[in-house]
Protein backbone atom coordinates (compact mmCIF):
# COMPACT_ATOMS: atom_id res chain seq x y z
CA UNK A 1 0.00 0.00 0.00
CA UNK A 2 1.37 3.39 -0.99
CA UNK A 3 2.08 6.11 1.54
CA UNK A 4 -0.46 8.31 -0.24
CA UNK A 5 -3.83 6.96 -1.34
CA UNK A 6 -4.27 9.16 -4.40
CA UNK A 7 -7.03 6.98 -5.80
CA UNK A 8 -8.91 7.34 -2.53
CA UNK A 9 -8.61 11.13 -2.65
CA UNK A 10 -9.72 11.13 -6.30
CA UNK A 11 -12.70 8.88 -5.48
CA UNK A 12 -13.91 11.29 -2.77
CA UNK A 13 -13.21 14.31 -4.98
CA UNK A 14 -15.08 12.91 -8.00
CA UNK A 15 -17.94 11.70 -5.82
CA UNK A 16 -18.37 15.20 -4.40
CA UNK A 17 -18.06 16.81 -7.81
CA UNK A 18 -20.74 14.48 -9.16
CA UNK A 19 -23.04 15.73 -6.40
CA UNK A 20 -22.30 19.26 -7.67
CA UNK A 21 -23.41 18.13 -11.14
CA UNK A 22 -26.55 16.50 -9.77
CA UNK A 23 -27.49 19.72 -7.97
CA UNK A 24 -26.47 22.02 -10.83
CA UNK A 25 -29.43 24.40 -10.41
CA UNK A 26 -29.01 24.71 -6.67
CA UNK A 27 -25.21 24.89 -6.72
CA UNK A 28 -24.52 27.18 -9.64
CA UNK A 29 -27.54 28.64 -11.36
CA UNK A 30 -29.29 29.89 -8.20
CA UNK A 31 -26.28 31.89 -6.91
CA UNK A 32 -25.68 33.34 -10.38
CA UNK A 33 -29.29 34.48 -10.67
CA UNK A 34 -29.17 35.97 -7.16
CA UNK A 35 -25.94 37.82 -7.94
CA UNK A 36 -27.36 39.08 -11.22
CA UNK A 37 -30.29 40.52 -9.28
CA UNK A 38 -27.83 42.32 -6.98
CA UNK A 39 -26.13 43.82 -10.03
CA UNK A 40 -29.45 44.93 -11.47
CA UNK A 41 -30.67 46.48 -8.21
CA UNK A 42 -27.46 47.86 -6.67
CA UNK A 43 -25.36 48.21 -9.77
CA UNK A 44 -27.76 49.55 -12.38
CA UNK A 45 -30.78 50.96 -10.52
CA UNK A 46 -29.14 52.43 -7.40
CA UNK A 47 -25.56 52.53 -8.62
CA UNK A 48 -26.42 54.78 -11.55
CA UNK A 49 -27.49 57.47 -9.05
CA UNK A 50 -24.32 57.15 -6.98
CA UNK A 51 -20.93 58.59 -7.58
CA UNK A 52 -17.67 56.74 -7.69
CA UNK A 53 -16.17 55.06 -4.62
CA UNK A 54 -12.39 55.16 -4.35
CA UNK A 55 -12.37 56.15 -8.01
CA UNK A 56 -14.37 53.10 -9.04
CA UNK A 57 -17.89 53.06 -10.52
CA UNK A 58 -20.28 51.77 -7.82
CA UNK A 59 -21.48 48.88 -9.96
CA UNK A 60 -17.89 47.69 -10.40
CA UNK A 61 -17.04 48.51 -6.75
CA UNK A 62 -19.48 45.91 -5.40
CA UNK A 63 -18.23 43.11 -7.70
CA UNK A 64 -15.51 41.78 -5.32
CA UNK A 65 -17.92 41.93 -2.38
CA UNK A 66 -20.63 40.08 -4.28
CA UNK A 67 -18.18 37.40 -5.39
CA UNK A 68 -17.01 37.03 -1.79
CA UNK A 69 -20.60 36.85 -0.53
CA UNK A 70 -21.34 33.94 -2.86
CA UNK A 71 -17.97 32.22 -2.38
CA UNK A 72 -18.13 32.38 1.42
CA UNK A 73 -21.71 31.15 1.59
CA UNK A 74 -21.30 28.41 -0.99
CA UNK A 75 -17.96 27.28 0.44
CA UNK A 76 -19.61 26.79 3.82
CA UNK A 77 -22.69 25.13 2.33
CA UNK A 78 -20.81 22.78 -0.01
CA UNK A 79 -18.17 21.66 2.46
CA UNK A 80 -20.47 21.35 5.45
CA UNK A 81 -23.09 19.43 3.46
CA UNK A 82 -20.41 17.25 1.86
CA UNK A 83 -19.29 15.81 5.19
CA UNK A 84 -22.57 16.15 7.10
CA UNK A 85 -24.59 14.12 4.57
CA UNK A 86 -22.53 10.91 4.96
CA UNK A 87 -22.67 11.41 8.73
CA UNK A 88 -26.44 11.84 8.55
CA UNK A 89 -27.04 8.87 6.23
CA UNK A 90 -24.42 6.69 7.91
CA UNK A 91 -22.35 6.22 4.75
CA UNK A 92 -19.39 7.78 6.58
CA UNK A 93 -18.60 4.24 7.79
CA UNK A 94 -17.10 3.50 4.39
CA UNK A 95 -14.67 6.42 4.40
CA UNK A 96 -13.68 5.76 8.02
CA UNK A 97 -13.00 2.09 7.29
CA UNK A 98 -11.03 2.81 4.10
CA UNK A 99 -7.23 3.13 3.95
CA UNK A 100 -7.58 6.90 3.75
CA UNK A 101 -5.67 9.21 6.10
CA UNK A 102 -7.34 12.23 7.70
CA UNK A 103 -5.28 14.49 5.41
CA UNK A 104 -6.46 12.59 2.32
CA UNK A 105 -10.05 12.71 3.52
CA UNK A 106 -9.88 16.48 4.02
CA UNK A 107 -8.10 16.87 0.68
CA UNK A 108 -10.91 15.02 -1.11
CA UNK A 109 -13.85 16.75 0.58
CA UNK A 110 -12.38 20.24 0.95
CA UNK A 111 -10.66 20.05 -2.44
CA UNK A 112 -13.97 19.32 -4.17
CA UNK A 113 -15.79 22.04 -2.22
CA UNK A 114 -13.03 24.54 -3.02
CA UNK A 115 -13.23 23.65 -6.71
CA UNK A 116 -16.98 24.23 -6.69
CA UNK A 117 -16.52 27.61 -5.00
CA UNK A 118 -13.82 28.59 -7.49
CA UNK A 119 -16.07 27.67 -10.39
CA UNK A 120 -18.89 29.68 -8.84
CA UNK A 121 -16.62 32.67 -8.21
CA UNK A 122 -15.38 32.63 -11.79
CA UNK A 123 -18.90 32.29 -13.20
CA UNK A 124 -20.09 35.26 -11.11
CA UNK A 125 -17.08 37.25 -12.26
CA UNK A 126 -17.97 36.43 -15.87
CA UNK A 127 -21.60 37.38 -15.16
CA UNK A 128 -20.46 40.69 -13.68
CA UNK A 129 -18.73 41.64 -16.93
CA UNK A 130 -22.16 41.56 -18.58
CA UNK A 131 -23.36 44.35 -16.27
CA UNK A 132 -20.37 46.53 -15.46
CA UNK A 133 -16.98 47.35 -17.01
CA UNK A 134 -14.33 45.48 -15.06
CA UNK A 135 -10.58 45.66 -14.75
CA UNK A 136 -8.35 43.52 -12.59
CA UNK A 137 -5.21 45.29 -11.36
CA UNK A 138 -3.53 42.23 -9.82
CA UNK A 139 -4.87 39.05 -11.52
CA UNK A 140 -2.45 36.76 -9.66
CA UNK A 141 -3.47 38.12 -6.27
CA UNK A 142 -7.11 38.07 -7.28
CA UNK A 143 -6.85 34.32 -7.94
CA UNK A 144 -4.68 33.82 -4.84
CA UNK A 145 -7.20 35.58 -2.57
CA UNK A 146 -10.05 33.64 -4.16
CA UNK A 147 -8.32 30.27 -3.68
CA UNK A 148 -7.24 31.05 -0.14
CA UNK A 149 -10.64 32.36 0.89
CA UNK A 150 -12.50 29.47 -0.73
CA UNK A 151 -10.16 26.88 0.83
CA UNK A 152 -10.37 28.55 4.24
CA UNK A 153 -14.16 28.70 4.30
CA UNK A 154 -14.41 25.17 2.91
CA UNK A 155 -12.27 24.04 5.84
CA UNK A 156 -14.56 26.05 8.11
CA UNK A 157 -17.54 24.38 6.44
CA UNK A 158 -15.95 20.95 6.96
CA UNK A 159 -15.67 21.74 10.67
CA UNK A 160 -19.27 22.94 10.69
CA UNK A 161 -20.43 19.74 8.98
CA UNK A 162 -18.72 17.63 11.64
CA UNK A 163 -19.99 19.79 14.50
CA UNK A 164 -23.61 20.03 13.33
CA UNK A 165 -26.10 17.58 14.76
CA UNK A 166 -28.95 18.59 12.50
CA UNK A 167 -29.81 20.50 9.34
CA UNK A 168 -30.84 23.52 11.41
CA UNK A 169 -27.37 23.78 12.93
CA UNK A 170 -25.92 23.29 9.47
CA UNK A 171 -27.81 26.34 8.18
CA UNK A 172 -27.28 28.42 11.32
CA UNK A 173 -23.75 29.67 10.67
CA UNK A 174 -24.09 30.55 6.94
CA UNK A 175 -27.47 32.26 7.39
CA UNK A 176 -27.08 33.97 10.74
CA UNK A 177 -23.34 34.61 10.92
CA UNK A 178 -21.63 34.71 7.52
CA UNK A 179 -24.30 36.58 5.53
CA UNK A 180 -24.63 39.42 8.09
CA UNK A 181 -20.85 39.66 8.50
CA UNK A 182 -20.44 39.90 4.71
CA UNK A 183 -23.11 42.58 4.38
CA UNK A 184 -21.49 44.50 7.23
CA UNK A 185 -18.00 43.73 5.98
CA UNK A 186 -17.93 46.24 3.16
CA UNK A 187 -19.47 44.17 0.37
CA UNK A 188 -21.55 47.15 -0.77
CA UNK A 189 -19.55 50.07 0.66
CA UNK A 190 -16.14 51.14 1.84
CA UNK A 191 -15.82 51.02 5.60
CA UNK A 192 -14.15 54.43 5.30
CA UNK A 193 -17.70 55.70 4.68
CA UNK A 194 -18.73 54.66 8.22
CA UNK A 195 -18.58 56.97 11.25
CA UNK A 196 -15.37 56.55 13.28
CA UNK A 197 -16.78 54.30 16.02
CA UNK A 198 -18.53 51.97 13.57
CA UNK A 199 -15.39 51.81 11.43
CA UNK A 200 -13.47 50.59 14.50
CA UNK A 201 -16.18 48.03 15.23
CA UNK A 202 -16.01 46.86 11.61
CA UNK A 203 -12.33 46.09 11.98
CA UNK A 204 -13.35 43.25 14.33
CA UNK A 205 -15.29 41.69 11.47
CA UNK A 206 -12.94 39.16 9.77
CA UNK A 207 -14.85 39.37 6.50
CA UNK A 208 -13.72 43.02 6.15
CA UNK A 209 -10.17 41.78 5.57
CA UNK A 210 -11.25 39.22 2.97
CA UNK A 211 -13.28 41.69 0.95
CA UNK A 212 -10.73 44.45 1.33
CA UNK A 213 -7.87 42.28 0.11
CA UNK A 214 -9.95 40.92 -2.76
CA UNK A 215 -11.04 44.42 -3.78
CA UNK A 216 -7.41 45.55 -3.70
CA UNK A 217 -6.60 42.80 -6.23
CA UNK A 218 -9.25 44.28 -8.54
CA UNK A 219 -8.76 48.03 -8.16
CA UNK A 220 -5.56 48.56 -6.17
CA UNK A 221 -7.45 50.29 -3.33
CA UNK A 222 -8.35 48.78 0.02
CA UNK A 223 -9.96 49.59 3.35
CA UNK A 224 -7.11 47.93 5.23
CA UNK A 225 -3.53 47.23 4.18
CA UNK A 226 -3.32 44.26 1.83
CA UNK A 227 -0.64 42.62 3.98
CA UNK A 228 -3.00 42.72 6.95
CA UNK A 229 -5.78 41.20 4.81
CA UNK A 230 -3.51 38.43 3.64
CA UNK A 231 -2.26 37.72 7.15
CA UNK A 232 -5.79 37.65 8.57
CA UNK A 233 -6.95 35.22 5.87
CA UNK A 234 -3.89 33.01 6.36
CA UNK A 235 -4.40 33.12 10.11
CA UNK A 236 -8.00 31.97 9.78
CA UNK A 237 -6.88 29.22 7.36
CA UNK A 238 -4.29 27.96 9.86
CA UNK A 239 -6.82 28.12 12.71
CA UNK A 240 -9.25 25.98 10.69
CA UNK A 241 -6.43 23.53 9.88
CA UNK A 242 -5.63 23.28 13.58
CA UNK A 243 -9.26 22.52 14.47
CA UNK A 244 -9.48 19.87 11.72
CA UNK A 245 -6.26 18.30 13.05
CA UNK A 246 -7.80 18.21 16.52
CA UNK A 247 -11.01 16.66 15.17
CA UNK A 248 -9.14 13.75 13.63
CA UNK A 249 -6.82 13.37 16.59
CA UNK A 250 -9.73 13.04 18.99
CA UNK A 251 -12.25 11.51 16.58
CA UNK A 252 -14.70 14.25 17.60
CA UNK A 253 -18.16 13.31 16.28
CA UNK A 254 -16.54 11.02 13.73
CA UNK A 255 -15.37 8.08 15.81
CA UNK A 256 -16.55 6.78 19.15
Amino acid sequence: MNAFNGRGVLAIYLFEMSRFNRTFWQSLVAPVITTSLYFIVFGAAIGSRMGELDGVHYGAFIVPGLIMLSVLTESLNNASFGIYLPRFTGTIYEVLSAPVSPFEMVLGYVGAATTKSMILGMVILATATLFVPLSIAHPFWMVAFLVLTAATFCLFGFILGIWANGFEQLQFVPMLVITPLTFLGGAFYSIDMLPGAWRTVSLFNPVVYLISGFRWAFYGTADVAVGVSLSATLGFFLACLGIVWWIFRTGYRLKN
Binding site: M1, N2, N5, G6, R7, G8, L10, A11, I12, L14, F15, S18, R19, R22, P86, T89, G90, T91, Y93, E94, V95, L96, S97, A98, P99, V100, S101, G251, K255, N256
Partner: protein
Protein backbone atom coordinates in the same frame (compact mmCIF):
# COMPACT_ATOMS: atom_id res chain seq x y z
CA UNK B 1 -18.55 -29.90 0.51
CA UNK B 2 -18.34 -28.42 4.00
CA UNK B 3 -15.00 -28.65 5.65
CA UNK B 4 -14.33 -28.59 9.34
CA UNK B 5 -12.02 -25.90 10.57
CA UNK B 6 -8.98 -27.11 12.48
CA UNK B 7 -8.77 -26.51 16.21
CA UNK B 8 -7.53 -23.16 17.55
CA UNK B 9 -4.10 -24.68 18.00
CA UNK B 10 -3.69 -24.64 14.23
CA UNK B 11 -0.28 -24.30 12.62
CA UNK B 12 -1.40 -21.61 10.12
CA UNK B 13 -0.87 -18.07 11.47
CA UNK B 14 -4.17 -16.30 12.09
CA UNK B 15 -5.36 -13.72 9.57
CA UNK B 16 -6.97 -11.79 12.45
CA UNK B 17 -5.54 -11.70 15.94
CA UNK B 18 -7.21 -9.85 18.81
CA UNK B 19 -5.45 -9.53 22.15
CA UNK B 20 -6.92 -8.10 25.36
CA UNK B 21 -9.15 -5.74 23.41
CA UNK B 22 -11.33 -3.44 25.47
CA UNK B 23 -13.65 -0.57 24.72
CA UNK B 24 -15.21 1.82 27.19
CA UNK B 25 -17.32 4.58 25.67
CA UNK B 26 -17.29 8.14 26.94
CA UNK B 27 -20.62 7.43 28.67
CA UNK B 28 -18.79 4.92 30.86
CA UNK B 29 -20.37 1.91 29.18
CA UNK B 30 -17.85 -0.91 28.98
CA UNK B 31 -18.79 -2.39 25.62
CA UNK B 32 -15.89 -4.84 25.50
CA UNK B 33 -14.13 -6.50 28.39
CA UNK B 34 -10.72 -7.91 27.51
CA UNK B 35 -11.39 -9.96 24.38
CA UNK B 36 -8.95 -12.44 22.85
CA UNK B 37 -9.72 -14.06 19.55
CA UNK B 38 -7.93 -15.57 16.57
CA UNK B 39 -9.47 -16.16 13.18
CA UNK B 40 -7.81 -18.38 10.59
CA UNK B 41 -7.57 -17.64 6.89
CA UNK B 42 -10.51 -18.95 4.91
CA UNK B 43 -12.59 -19.52 8.02
CA UNK B 44 -16.25 -18.65 8.44
CA UNK B 45 -16.65 -17.40 11.99
CA UNK B 46 -20.04 -16.55 13.46
CA UNK B 47 -20.24 -14.14 16.36
CA UNK B 48 -23.45 -14.60 18.27
CA UNK B 49 -24.82 -12.44 21.01
CA UNK B 50 -27.90 -10.56 22.15
CA UNK B 51 -28.45 -6.89 21.36
CA UNK B 52 -25.85 -4.67 22.99
CA UNK B 53 -23.48 -7.57 23.62
CA UNK B 54 -20.58 -5.84 21.85
CA UNK B 55 -20.64 -7.56 18.44
CA UNK B 56 -20.79 -4.39 16.34
CA UNK B 57 -18.29 -2.63 18.61
CA UNK B 58 -15.81 -5.45 18.06
CA UNK B 59 -16.27 -5.35 14.29
CA UNK B 60 -16.14 -1.56 14.20
CA UNK B 61 -12.81 -1.51 16.05
CA UNK B 62 -11.22 -3.98 13.64
CA UNK B 63 -12.51 -1.95 10.68
CA UNK B 64 -11.26 1.37 12.07
CA UNK B 65 -14.62 2.99 12.79
CA UNK B 66 -14.33 2.85 16.57
CA UNK B 67 -11.16 3.55 18.53
CA UNK B 68 -10.20 0.84 21.02
CA UNK B 69 -9.57 1.74 24.65
CA UNK B 70 -6.78 -0.81 25.04
CA UNK B 71 -5.49 -4.01 23.53
CA UNK B 72 -4.12 -4.99 20.18
CA UNK B 73 -5.65 -6.06 16.88
CA UNK B 74 -3.53 -7.42 14.04
CA UNK B 75 -4.59 -8.30 10.51
CA UNK B 76 -2.08 -10.57 8.81
CA UNK B 77 0.45 -9.32 11.33
CA UNK B 78 -0.27 -5.64 10.70
CA UNK B 79 -1.44 -3.46 13.58
CA UNK B 80 -4.82 -1.80 12.91
CA UNK B 81 -3.65 1.53 14.34
CA UNK B 82 -0.04 1.80 13.17
CA UNK B 83 -0.49 0.04 9.83
CA UNK B 84 -4.09 1.05 9.19
CA UNK B 85 -3.60 1.31 5.43
CA UNK B 86 -2.42 -2.29 5.23
CA UNK B 87 -5.15 -3.65 7.47
CA UNK B 88 -8.09 -1.68 6.06
CA UNK B 89 -7.13 -2.51 2.48
CA UNK B 90 -7.62 -6.18 3.38
CA UNK B 91 -11.02 -5.75 5.01
CA UNK B 92 -14.49 -5.35 3.56
CA UNK B 93 -17.43 -4.39 5.75
CA UNK B 94 -21.14 -4.89 5.20
CA UNK B 95 -22.82 -2.82 7.91
CA UNK B 96 -25.96 -3.78 9.72
CA UNK B 97 -27.93 -0.72 8.64
CA UNK B 98 -28.71 0.07 4.98
CA UNK B 99 -26.26 2.97 4.72
CA UNK B 100 -26.21 3.97 1.06
CA UNK B 101 -26.13 7.17 -0.94
CA UNK B 102 -29.63 7.02 -2.38
CA UNK B 103 -29.02 9.30 -5.37
CA UNK B 104 -26.06 7.42 -6.80
CA UNK B 105 -26.29 4.60 -9.34
CA UNK B 106 -25.25 1.07 -8.42
CA UNK B 107 -22.31 1.18 -10.81
CA UNK B 108 -21.01 4.50 -9.53
CA UNK B 109 -21.23 3.49 -5.90
CA UNK B 110 -19.22 0.28 -6.38
CA UNK B 111 -16.70 2.16 -8.53
CA UNK B 112 -16.39 4.73 -5.72
CA UNK B 113 -15.80 1.99 -3.15
CA UNK B 114 -13.01 0.42 -5.19
CA UNK B 115 -11.28 3.76 -5.70
CA UNK B 116 -11.65 4.69 -2.03
CA UNK B 117 -9.67 1.61 -1.08
CA UNK B 118 -6.87 2.62 -3.43
CA UNK B 119 -7.47 -0.01 -6.08
CA UNK B 120 -7.11 0.79 -9.79
CA UNK B 121 -10.28 0.74 -11.86
CA UNK B 122 -11.27 -2.78 -12.88
CA UNK B 123 -14.65 -2.80 -14.64
CA UNK B 124 -14.37 -6.57 -15.26
CA UNK B 125 -14.14 -7.29 -11.53
CA UNK B 126 -17.00 -4.95 -10.71
CA UNK B 127 -19.11 -6.60 -13.42
CA UNK B 128 -18.33 -10.02 -11.93
CA UNK B 129 -19.34 -8.88 -8.45
CA UNK B 130 -22.55 -7.30 -9.70
CA UNK B 131 -23.46 -10.37 -11.74
CA UNK B 132 -22.84 -12.67 -8.77
CA UNK B 133 -25.20 -10.54 -6.71
CA UNK B 134 -27.82 -10.32 -9.48
CA UNK B 135 -27.26 -6.57 -9.66
CA UNK B 136 -25.86 -6.29 -13.17
CA UNK B 137 -29.23 -5.42 -14.69
CA UNK B 138 -29.64 -2.72 -12.04
CA UNK B 139 -26.24 -1.13 -12.55
CA UNK B 140 -27.62 2.11 -13.98
CA UNK B 141 -30.44 2.39 -11.45
CA UNK B 142 -30.26 4.82 -8.59
CA UNK B 143 -30.03 3.05 -5.24
CA UNK B 144 -33.18 4.82 -4.03
CA UNK B 145 -35.21 2.89 -6.61
CA UNK B 146 -34.09 -0.53 -5.34
CA UNK B 147 -35.88 -2.78 -2.87
CA UNK B 148 -34.48 -3.36 0.62
CA UNK B 149 -33.04 -6.71 -0.41
CA UNK B 150 -31.36 -5.19 -3.44
CA UNK B 151 -29.88 -2.42 -1.28
CA UNK B 152 -28.44 -5.09 0.98
CA UNK B 153 -26.84 -6.69 -2.09
CA UNK B 154 -25.42 -3.29 -3.08
CA UNK B 155 -23.74 -3.02 0.32
CA UNK B 156 -22.18 -6.44 -0.20
CA UNK B 157 -21.05 -5.44 -3.69
CA UNK B 158 -19.43 -2.30 -2.27
CA UNK B 159 -17.63 -4.36 0.36
CA UNK B 160 -16.35 -6.76 -2.30
CA UNK B 161 -15.38 -4.07 -4.82
CA UNK B 162 -11.80 -3.84 -3.56
CA UNK B 163 -11.29 -7.62 -3.34
CA UNK B 164 -10.93 -7.91 0.46
CA UNK B 165 -9.32 -10.89 2.13
CA UNK B 166 -11.56 -10.57 5.19
CA UNK B 167 -15.24 -9.82 4.91
CA UNK B 168 -17.24 -8.65 7.91
CA UNK B 169 -20.96 -9.21 7.61
CA UNK B 170 -22.84 -7.44 10.40
CA UNK B 171 -26.28 -9.02 10.53
CA UNK B 172 -26.20 -9.63 6.76
CA UNK B 173 -29.66 -11.12 6.38
CA UNK B 174 -31.58 -8.98 8.84
CA UNK B 175 -34.91 -8.17 7.25
CA UNK B 176 -34.34 -9.99 3.98
CA UNK B 177 -36.58 -12.66 2.53
CA UNK B 178 -35.84 -16.36 2.59
CA UNK B 179 -34.76 -16.49 -1.05
CA UNK B 180 -32.24 -13.71 -0.65
CA UNK B 181 -31.00 -15.26 2.56
CA UNK B 182 -30.31 -18.51 0.73
CA UNK B 183 -28.60 -16.58 -2.09
CA UNK B 184 -26.36 -14.85 0.43
CA UNK B 185 -25.42 -18.10 2.08
CA UNK B 186 -24.46 -19.46 -1.32
CA UNK B 187 -22.42 -16.33 -2.00
CA UNK B 188 -20.63 -16.62 1.33
CA UNK B 189 -19.66 -20.20 0.54
CA UNK B 190 -18.40 -19.15 -2.89
CA UNK B 191 -16.32 -16.40 -1.29
CA UNK B 192 -14.86 -18.83 1.19
CA UNK B 193 -13.94 -21.18 -1.63
CA UNK B 194 -11.98 -18.29 -3.17
CA UNK B 195 -10.05 -17.87 0.10
CA UNK B 196 -11.95 -15.00 1.70
CA UNK B 197 -12.23 -15.15 5.48
CA UNK B 198 -15.73 -14.36 6.66
CA UNK B 199 -16.76 -13.06 10.05
CA UNK B 200 -20.46 -12.61 10.54
CA UNK B 201 -22.64 -11.49 13.36
CA UNK B 202 -26.16 -12.70 13.35
CA UNK B 203 -29.31 -13.09 15.36
CA UNK B 204 -30.31 -15.95 13.10
CA UNK B 205 -28.74 -18.94 14.76
CA UNK B 206 -29.85 -20.95 11.77
CA UNK B 207 -27.45 -18.84 9.74
CA UNK B 208 -24.50 -19.68 11.97
CA UNK B 209 -25.54 -23.30 12.11
CA UNK B 210 -25.76 -23.39 8.32
CA UNK B 211 -22.49 -21.67 7.48
CA UNK B 212 -20.02 -21.24 10.31
CA UNK B 213 -16.94 -23.30 10.97
CA UNK B 214 -16.57 -21.81 14.43
CA UNK B 215 -18.90 -19.95 16.69
CA UNK B 216 -18.13 -17.28 19.24
CA UNK B 217 -20.67 -16.21 21.82
CA UNK B 218 -20.39 -12.73 23.23
CA UNK B 219 -22.43 -11.45 26.14
CA UNK B 220 -22.09 -8.13 27.98
CA UNK B 221 -18.83 -7.42 26.20
CA UNK B 222 -17.29 -10.71 27.15
CA UNK B 223 -16.43 -13.47 24.73
CA UNK B 224 -17.76 -16.34 26.77
CA UNK B 225 -17.14 -19.12 24.32
CA UNK B 226 -15.30 -19.85 21.08
CA UNK B 227 -15.73 -23.30 19.72
CA UNK B 228 -15.99 -25.24 16.50
CA UNK B 229 -19.64 -25.39 15.66
CA UNK B 230 -19.87 -29.14 15.36
CA UNK B 231 -17.84 -29.66 18.53
CA UNK B 232 -19.98 -27.12 20.33
CA UNK B 233 -23.16 -28.86 19.38
CA UNK B 234 -21.65 -32.19 20.30
CA UNK B 235 -20.44 -30.90 23.65
CA UNK B 236 -23.38 -28.83 24.71
CA UNK B 237 -26.20 -30.19 22.64
CA UNK B 238 -28.94 -32.01 24.49
CA UNK B 239 -30.82 -34.89 22.95
CA UNK B 240 -34.31 -35.96 23.79
CA UNK B 241 -36.01 -39.28 23.30
CA UNK B 242 -39.80 -39.16 23.39
CA UNK B 243 -41.82 -42.34 23.71
CA UNK B 244 -45.51 -42.22 22.78
CA UNK B 245 -47.08 -44.76 25.12
CA UNK B 246 -49.86 -47.19 24.23
CA UNK B 247 -51.52 -46.61 27.61
CA UNK B 248 -51.26 -43.48 29.75
CA UNK B 249 -48.96 -43.85 32.74
CA UNK B 250 -50.00 -42.49 36.14
CA UNK B 251 -46.51 -42.22 37.54
CA UNK B 252 -43.02 -43.20 36.65
CA UNK B 253 -42.13 -46.62 38.04
CA UNK B 254 -39.39 -46.67 40.65
CA UNK B 255 -37.36 -48.97 38.43
CA UNK B 256 -36.96 -46.10 35.93
CA UNK B 257 -35.77 -43.44 38.37
CA UNK B 258 -32.15 -43.69 37.17
CA UNK B 259 -33.12 -42.24 33.76
CA UNK B 260 -34.80 -39.12 35.25
CA UNK B 261 -37.76 -39.46 32.92
CA UNK B 262 -40.54 -36.89 32.63
CA UNK B 263 -44.16 -37.71 32.00
CA UNK B 264 -45.91 -35.39 29.58
CA UNK B 265 -49.17 -34.94 27.74
CA UNK B 266 -51.33 -36.46 30.44
CA UNK B 267 -49.05 -39.42 30.92
CA UNK B 268 -49.15 -40.37 27.24
CA UNK B 269 -45.54 -39.38 26.55
CA UNK B 270 -42.38 -40.32 28.33
CA UNK B 271 -39.46 -37.96 27.77
CA UNK B 272 -35.85 -38.86 28.34
CA UNK B 273 -33.28 -36.03 28.08
CA UNK B 274 -29.65 -36.98 27.79
CA UNK B 275 -26.33 -35.37 26.98
CA UNK B 276 -25.16 -36.06 23.44
CA UNK B 277 -21.52 -36.10 24.58
CA UNK B 278 -22.21 -38.81 27.10
CA UNK B 279 -21.29 -42.11 25.55
CA UNK B 280 -23.38 -44.01 28.08
CA UNK B 281 -26.70 -42.51 27.12
CA UNK B 282 -28.55 -45.60 28.27
CA UNK B 283 -31.22 -45.79 25.56
CA UNK B 284 -30.85 -49.53 24.96
CA UNK B 285 -30.98 -50.17 28.69
CA UNK B 286 -34.03 -47.93 29.06
CA UNK B 287 -35.91 -49.67 26.25
CA UNK B 288 -34.97 -53.06 27.67
CA UNK B 289 -36.21 -52.08 31.12
CA UNK B 290 -39.47 -50.70 29.67
CA UNK B 291 -39.96 -54.05 27.95
CA UNK B 292 -39.35 -55.87 31.22
CA UNK B 293 -41.92 -53.65 32.96
CA UNK B 294 -44.45 -54.29 30.21
CA UNK B 295 -44.60 -50.65 29.19
CA UNK B 296 -45.53 -50.56 25.51
CA UNK B 297 -45.09 -47.65 23.17
CA UNK B 298 -46.47 -47.10 19.70
CA UNK B 299 -43.89 -44.57 18.45
CA UNK B 300 -40.70 -42.86 19.43
CA UNK B 301 -38.60 -39.98 18.13
CA UNK B 302 -35.42 -38.18 19.07
CA UNK B 303 -34.54 -34.48 18.79
CA UNK B 304 -31.25 -32.63 19.19
CA UNK B 305 -31.03 -29.11 20.59
CA UNK B 306 -30.27 -26.46 17.99
CA UNK B 307 -27.47 -23.94 18.15
CA UNK B 308 -30.13 -21.43 19.10
CA UNK B 309 -31.05 -23.39 22.21
CA UNK B 310 -27.38 -23.75 23.07
CA UNK B 311 -26.91 -20.01 22.60
CA UNK B 312 -29.90 -19.13 24.77
CA UNK B 313 -28.70 -21.53 27.41
CA UNK B 314 -25.19 -20.04 27.44
CA UNK B 315 -26.35 -16.45 27.57
CA UNK B 316 -29.00 -17.07 30.22
CA UNK B 317 -26.42 -18.81 32.40
CA UNK B 318 -24.46 -15.54 32.40
CA UNK B 319 -27.40 -13.41 33.42
Amino acid sequence: MRRAWPSPARAVPPILSIRALTKTYASGLQALKPVDLEIGKGEIFALLGPNGAGKTTLISIVCGIVTPTSGEVRVQGFDILKDYRETRARIGLVPQELHTDMFVTVWNTVRFSRGLFGKPADPAHLEKVLRELSLWDKRDDRIMTLSGGMKRRVLIAKALAHEPEILFLDEPTAGVDVELRRDMWALVRTLRESGVTIILTTHYIEEAEEMADRVGVISKGELILVEEKTALMKKLGKKQLTLHLQEPMAEIPAALVAWRLVLKNGGCELEYTFDARDERVGIPALLKRLGELGVEYRDLHTAQSSLEEIFVSLVSERR
